[in-house]
Symmetry: C2
Subunit: 401 residues, 2 copies
């Protein structure tokens, strides 16, 4: 008898993307001739800087060779220069090149925590963190934040109440996905203080640094004094240069044991993509006008979302200070059902929207059921139209449910 | 008191590359004006096909966007076409694009085995397997093969004696790294038979398929009847197209549960690099003459290594049927010491060689101490010169130790 092997329990339980379940419904809607505005993922329509394309297209090497596991020297040099402009300084052996921010979280968690250890993180959080903590066999401990408080952090005491002898790190993201919340300098200092007091790491996901709309510089964990040996900065080129397909980012830390361990893990997986490192290294010459324009565009898109949503009764959309996501609380609406209904039962002038249901961004059961995440990654005309369609949908859903 | 957090136990123990320890000594030698021939890694000097560069340099999209987690459609179509030419047929939902073969092993092990489970693999093995089994918290169970038998597999009974109720898969590589051994059709059938009998998976790393020098087609696990639901093929573009820096490969399986699980893991890490998928997809048009020339070159390089080494007394170098590595057994020589000595104490006409000590390719303590791995990745002139230098070194080392 041929006994077919079954997959592993963890392989069965790997967290599935809530959004992914909606894709077949979106495809069906499109087959019926409905235009689906996809506001579910963070894939911007912004052009990758010309500097990237020029560097890639004039690359002279004939062999597309492995890069050093820690990164190509020109990429590392470009990073050092870029961060110096943000008042973040480190040596060339304090940075490791990674295959997108998400690999950075993976390698970092391997290096800081053993199976069964705990990682504290504010919820709602970037949903792929869950998959990564599952891969690293860690327990994910949420600190709940709320729309009412703009998703800012609770008190130090509340955060500290989650710390046990298994806690190895606090993982934060500012500007945040999915909330767009930008932590104040005081919040960053509070987190740093907790890490110092309890002898744990702070893992700071800062991939949306360039996208803050309220005029204040974004505080990096690397700006806080005294936390140098606890602080781990994770960054990605995906959003900064609208190069999501480049699969590049970096980990920066002054903690030598940590960086040595990450380097050893990076060596196991050999190398980040070479050609993309060439392209991104050239982006150090992207003029400030590129970022200014991109930021202005996103700010306009954000304002469309916030203004339209907050104009609806019993809908709360805290103004996101950064990134390009907004969480929208639609009181009394089960958003899992609603997101599906948008694709299966609704259209307005043959258009509808694809949004991410909120529950997928929370670990605490029951939370986020009345929230959705909107990625404002389309141009203002599309965003305006999408918000009109969404507003109509909320109105109609509430009448019929 | 500021208690600096310590890294994790697994982060401390992540297997370090034996070769990496030698790099500082190689750099010191170079500073002293010695030419170091680097035969330690599988980075060939072969040019990436022009088709790759043309496709990348004429790519028209303005936004370097995420690819679908399972891969760009043109990449998947190219793979289906390529494998059909090797009598391997599968549907477009039976393949997942990966970030190099090594990510394929990682995601595969997550999908087939739980923490504490066992994976059986012949030793000497590709040393990065160890790091990956450590990441996935698995036990690595070696089956010893020997230079004397050309590193071919032992009997089914010997392999089966390693199987316990924790065994989830047999992981094989043919043509193999570091041995160059190409398993016969009978060996592949034997492994498949064991997998069927015991209801476990066969993970078949076939990244060196194009590099076999004895005229016979390489047998893929996908060629064996009856093992379809057990068979997992892992492949990489790194060697096939001399595009190690592209970080691309694929996992193919007819086992739906397995592929679905791998797809879920791939979704967590979002995407493989986009531009490289464009380039590699175009490589489907690489003319056969490219591969014929590359193969001829490697065969010549191989023959230089084998002929020189086997011409030395008490040195055994089994003729590798494929890949571009040769294991060389230097009787009576501690190769860990020898590899270091080559860089610190030896030179011949101001030249020396960097080789990989054998112990790093074995799990069983004590094995491989008298072996080295040579990667024959340089042109014939360099390989000839390197072998002359290495032969002198063996002679001199034996006289003085």
């Amino acid at each position: 008898m041929n006994k077919i092997p079954s997959i592993s329990l963890r392989g069965k339980n790997v967290p599935k993307s809530a959004i992914r379940k909606l894709i077949p419904f979106a495809k069906d809607a499109e087959k019926r001739g409905i235009k689906v505005h996809k506001l579910n993922i963070g894939q911007p329509d912004v052009e990758t800087p010309q500097e990237f394309w020029d560097a890639v297209k004039t690359f002279k090497e004939k062999v597309l060779a492995y890069s050093p596991s820690e990164g190509r020297p020109e990429f590392i040099d470009a990073m050092i220069k870029y961060y110096a402009g943000h008042n973040i300084n480190f040596k060339s052996d304090e940075i490791i090149t990674i295959v997108g921010g998400i690999e950075g979280v993976l390698l970092t968690l391997f290096a800081v925590a053993n199976p069964g250890d705990e990682i504290i993180t504010p919820e709602p959080y970037y949903s792929n963190y869950v998959g990564i903590t599952a891969m690293t066999d860690l327990k994910f401990v949420p600190i709940t934040t709320t729309a009412e408080k703009g998703y800012h952090l609770p008190s130090a005491a509340e955060i500290e109440s989650k710390i046990t002898d298994k806690t190895r790190a606090i993982l934060i993201a500012s500007p945040g996905n999915p909330t767009g919340c930008v932590y104040t300098k005081e919040e960053m200092e509070m987190v740093a203080g907790i890490a110092i007091k309890h002898g744990i790491f702070v893992i700071s996901d800062e991939v949306y640094r360039e996208f803050a709309y309220n005029g204040e510089p974004v505080t990096s964990i690397m700006h806080i004094k005294g936390v140098e040996q606890h602080a781990i900065l994770i960054d990605s080129m995906s959003k900064r240069y609208s190069a999501c397909g480049a699969r590049l980012g970096c980990i920066i830390s002054h903690n030598k044991d940590f960086i040595d361990s990450v380097r050893a893990y990076a060596t196991v997986r050999l190398s980040a993509p070479t050609l993309d490192q060439i392209g991104i290294a050239a982006c150090i010459n992207t003029p400030q006008s590129y970022f200014d324009k991109v930021k202005e565009d996103y700010k306009n898109r954000r304002d469309i979302v916030v203004d339209t949503m907050n104009g609806i009764k019993d809908v709360i959309c805290p103004v996101p200070g950064g990134a390009f996501y907004a969480m929208v609380k639609i009181k009394g609406v089960d958003t899992e059902e609603f997101a599906k209904w948008l694709l299966t039962d609704f259209s307005f002038e043959s258009e509808t929207v694809l949004v991410a249901p909120g529950a997928g961004f929370y670990a605490t059961p029951g939370l986020g059921r009345d929230e959705i995440r909107i990625a404002y990654i389309m141009n203002t005309a599309v965003m305006k139209r999408s918000m009109t369609v969404l507003a109509k949908a909320i109105e109609q859903y509430r009448k019929t449910h």
